[in-house]
């Protein structure tokens, strides 16, 4: 039996990505789940892009240091802030996903969501301020 089965439950997005963007009738848990997957796609794309960018290091100090100077431009810093949101949201909501999936805190998952995403938001704000000021 394959370990991925077609979705049949009403609470899960069914046949297309379009369903993820349709908030009507969705619980906070389902919206959190969809956002977790959207950030996952973004982070996966960034992971590959990051490996490509790191290849500049093999070109020596000129290649890397010129990239670093570009990476400190306001546009790059804004992209960094968007990336930071994806990272902290996926990280902290991911902790909830793992705990709930393992059967831990099943009855308190809404509180767990607000608590962990609250921590993520605080870290996001602090990190964003540091990105622009450091």
């Amino acid at each position: 039996m394959p370990d991925i089965q077609p979705t049949t439950d009403k609470a899960r997005p069914k046949s297309s990505l379009k369903a993820w963007f349709h908030p009507r009738g969705r619980s906070i848990s389902t919206i959190a789940f969809a956002l977790n997957r959207l950030t996952a796609i973004g982070l996966t794309l960034y992971l590959f892009l990051h490996l490509v960018v790191l290849s500049q290091l093999l070109r020596g100090p000129e290649g890397w240091n010129s990239f670093v100077s570009i990476a400190k431009s306001p546009i790059f810093l804004t992209l960094d802030v968007i990336l930071l949101f994806g990272v902290v949201y996926h990280m902290f909501n991911g902790i909830r996903v793992a705990l709930v999936g393992m059967g831990v805190a099943n009855q308190r998952q809404k509180g767990l969501f607000y608590g962990l995403v609250g921590i993520a938001l605080i870290l996001f704000v602090v990190g964003a301020v540091l990105i622009y000021t450091k």
Binding site: M1, P2, D3, I4, Q5, P6, T7, D9, A11, R12, P13, K14, S15, S16, L17, R26, S27, I28, S29, T30, F33, R37, A40, I41, L43, T44, L47, F48, L51, L54, S55, L57, L58, G60, P61, W64, N65, V68, A71, K72, D80, V87, M91, G94, I95, R96, V97, A98, V100, G101, M102, G103, N106, Q109, K110, G127, L130, I131, K134
Partner: protein
Amino acid sequence: MDSTMSRRSPEQMAARRDRSGSVWLVQAFSGLILVALLGIHMIAHHYIVEGGLRDYQQVLDYVSNPIIFTLEVLFVILGVTHSMLGVRSIIGDMRPSAGTLRVANWVLIIAGALAIGYGIYLAVALQQLAG
């Protein structure tokens, strides 16, 4: 508490659906380890360095530390594995045919292996450059 959460959450359904191959457990545990590794990676590379990013020499000095080197290699392996399994899970939500899923599996395995191989090559090359 809303009704969906009181029944079965999407997380529980995803866990139940994927657990037969232990794929979900690999995904969950790699994710939990990545929380620590990614935290270290981001703080070390972006928040404790003056100016927000390490210059070339600072990168070499950082990677030359054997503990950091090991953590970075582990980070690449777990990060790529976690992301490829995640993409596979998302593809599964799209209700693909068995043939499409089989092709997707191979594409993800090859892309993941290439990414891990390149990441390790990069780390080793940088450590050699650091002397």
